[in-house]
């Protein structure tokens, strides 16, 4: 491993740390989550209400559960079940069910694409 390699790794680690810091700085209180089918919001879920919802994904029904301001996918039709294995989400990380084309994202109250200073 030569000097250039080490510089590359350092740059990448810095990028990682910056991204990680940004995630912490912009952590917001989750109030609701949007369920997207492709690029369209098909359901908006209030996270303060514990409930179970069913939406229609590309491969069949996708069952979503809300508990204690957290959300997860409990059941869906796909080869690897990655998004149901993902478990509970309470921050801005999206739950992505690729084969079903379903994305669940907890949004905050402010405008999504602005960075406030």
């Amino acid at each position: 491993m030569n000097k250039s390699d080490k510089i590359l790794i350092i740059i990448l680690v810095i990028i990682l740390l910056v991204v990680f810091l940004l995630k912490i700085i912009f952590k917001t209180d989750s109030t609701y989550a949007n369920v997207y089918y492709e690029n369209n919001i098909i359901k908006t879920i209030d996270l303060t209400i514990d409930a179970t919802y069913t939406v229609e994904g590309y491969n069949g029904d996708v069952v979503i559960e809300v508990l204690d301001n957290k959300i997860r996918v409990t059941e869906e039709n796909s080869p690897l079940h990655i998004c149901s294995k993902q478990g509970w989400v309470s921050d801005g990380t999206p739950i992505i069910c690729l084969p079903n084309k379903i994305i669940i994202k907890i949004e905050n109250n402010s405008d999504l694409d602005t960075i406030s200073r």
Binding site: L8, N39, L98, I103
Partner: protein, 161 residues
């Protein structure tokens, strides 16, 4: 292409396919989409250093086709992920090898990262939803690690064979 070369490239292709298949059966890598060891890329890195860009391109594309045929189904979404990742990683590895002073390990890291970027691009297009970008940090981390591993293995093989 001489018969000798065809035979050698075919052997490399076969090795790459086997590595790709074996890897897809290890369940650990199914937790986060896009995270994988990428052992099959050792062959690609080897081909870039010991053969030519074109030869590495043949191996890359044919490998994606063969693994797609054998594993996930030709022209499924996984196939397009693999194709996009493989092509992008090959192009960037070649460019960085040619125009920077990175060693095999650095080139391999670049390959791993661009492979992930290629997959994210296809995922965003397939879902028409930009939120997939949230996966990038974790993919970046795993790419750095697997890039170093694959790079070290490739380096040894290039030295000894």
């Amino acid at each position: 292409m001489t018969t000798n070369k065809i035979a050698r490239i075919s052997m490399l292709l076969a090795i790459s396919v086997v590595l790709g298949l074996v890897e897809s059966y290890i369940p650990i890598f199914n937790v986060i989409p896009g995270v994988k060891l990428g052992l099959a890329n050792i062959v690609i890195v080897y081909a870039i250093y010991k053969y030519s860009f074109k030869d590495a391109l043949y191996i890359s594309i044919l490998r994606v086709f063969l693994v797609g045929l054998l594993r996930s189904g030709l022209f499924s979404i996984t196939f397009f992920f693999s194709l996009s990742g493989a092509l992008l990683s090959l192009i960037f590895m070649y460019l960085f090898k040619k125009y920077t002073k990175l060693s095999v390990i650095g080139v391999s890291i670049i390959g791993a990262i661009s492979h992930s970027i290629g997959q994210i691009i296809i995922a965003v297009i397939f879902l028409s939803n930009i939120n997939i970008i949230y996966y990038f940090p974790i993919l970046l981390l795993s790419s750095i690690i697997t890039g170093i591993i694959v790079g070290m293995l490739s380096k040894k093989i290039i030295e000894y064979a």
